[in-house]
């Protein structure tokens, strides 16, 4: 299998790798680069656990070939905390018990981050819509929705 060079910015760091052509971004991140925050749940686009942000847009890393990400900027959940301080979304997920087994959490947080980046004060319906591509088998969703609304409130208080 041909190796192809891939370069992108991952959570603020430049990455340059040779990968097998046809490797998914999910596998490249987890197996090659060592960022295991995106989870591989279904590899079918249905669970959202592998969600990452590519150039500001929510994308499924299991259905994205790594080599199509050349020159992009990628954010994963492991890039959210700064100097050991949790991102408001991470804090809110802990505070509202929005995490049980935690498998869906990184994908949920990525979907929520894109929402809050564009819509700092979302309605409940907007939160539900933003998370509609992410499946959680544990929490019943309500604590997750509350976490996102709480993080939005925390953000707007910080901004005020």
């Amino acid at each position: 299998m041909a190796k192809v060079p891939v370069q992108f910015t991952l959570n603020g760091s430049e990455k340059a790798e040779f990968i097998d052509s046809g490797t998914t971004l999910l596998n490249a991140l987890r197996d090659k680069i060592g960022d295991t925050s995106p989870k591989g749940g279904c590899h079918q686009g249905t669970c959202g656990a592998c969600s990452v942000i590519i150039d500001g847009e929510l994308r499924l890393s299991c259905l994205t070939l790594a080599e199509t990400c050349n020159g992009t900027t990628i954010t994963t959940t492991s890039g959210l905390s700064e100097s050991g301080v949790l991102h408001p979304l991470q804090r809110a997920f802990l505070d509202t018990f929005a995490t049980q087994c935690g498998f869906c959490t990184p994908g949920m947080i990525m979907a929520a981050k894109v929402l809050l980046d564009h819509t700092p004060n979302p309605s409940r319906d907007e939160v539900v819509e933003a998370l509609s591509g992410n499946i959680c088998r544990c929490t019943g969703y309500e604590p997750i929705i509350q976490a996102v609304l709480l993080a939005a409130r925390a953000n707007s208080q910080n901004a005020a």
Binding site: V4, S21, G48, T68, A111, V114, E129, G133
Partner: protein, 264 residues
Amino acid sequence: MALALQTFPTVKDANSALKAAGTRYLGGGTLVIRAANEGDVSVSSLVRSTDPALSAIAVAGGKVRIGASVTMAAIARLPDLGALAKAARAVGGPAIRNMATVGGNLFAPAPYGDFAVALLALDATISTDDGELPIETFLAKRDGSRVIVTSVSFTLPKADGFRFLKVSRVKPKGVSMLSIAAVLERAADGTVSSARIALGCMADRPIRARAAEKAIEGKTLDRDGIAPALAAATEGIAPITDPIASAWYRAEVLPVHLGRLLLT
């Protein structure tokens, strides 16, 4: 997964590479990479083109041309295409909409292909380097197609002339139990002067509801006026059966949802 991707700056070169056995075009990858992840080994290599024309949207003089690589999210956020936003938003959740392309949706088997249903009602023209085809002819022949779709074009319907409905079990997203798109024109007296109605999940690909279209022409959009169209709606359909609904159920509820769409 043993897949190799070849990227070409021009559609012409990508088309040449697509001729090789076991090669498929890569749009957003939501179906083709999904199939590969599932173990489909019929595809060994993928090609794509980064030609910027594939990502362009042009709206001028009531005519629209959308490049095949344009995503559902891009269509949904463009005010000029407001009439189509509902159909674009019907495709999957937010991440899928950021990846799913117009070109790929034309090839998506039922229960997918919601945007293609809208394009069928709009009587879109499908462009390739080999020429242009009416969407209905294109859809009929799509399985044997070995050429890259470059764009879709259509005339923007009059305000309120385009209607779209997707029915699913899981809200706010979830695959279609059925989808319906209609382009209706009305005469000065309010009667329907022309109608194009397209159905999703009523065959393995989007189809026109010709009998219903004929039955609504000259009628008013009220309960009595639409009754003949609802009676004719199931003519010529062969709905799919999947975990969402059986063919029988889909056929039973089609007139109900068509009625709701026509009365809105």
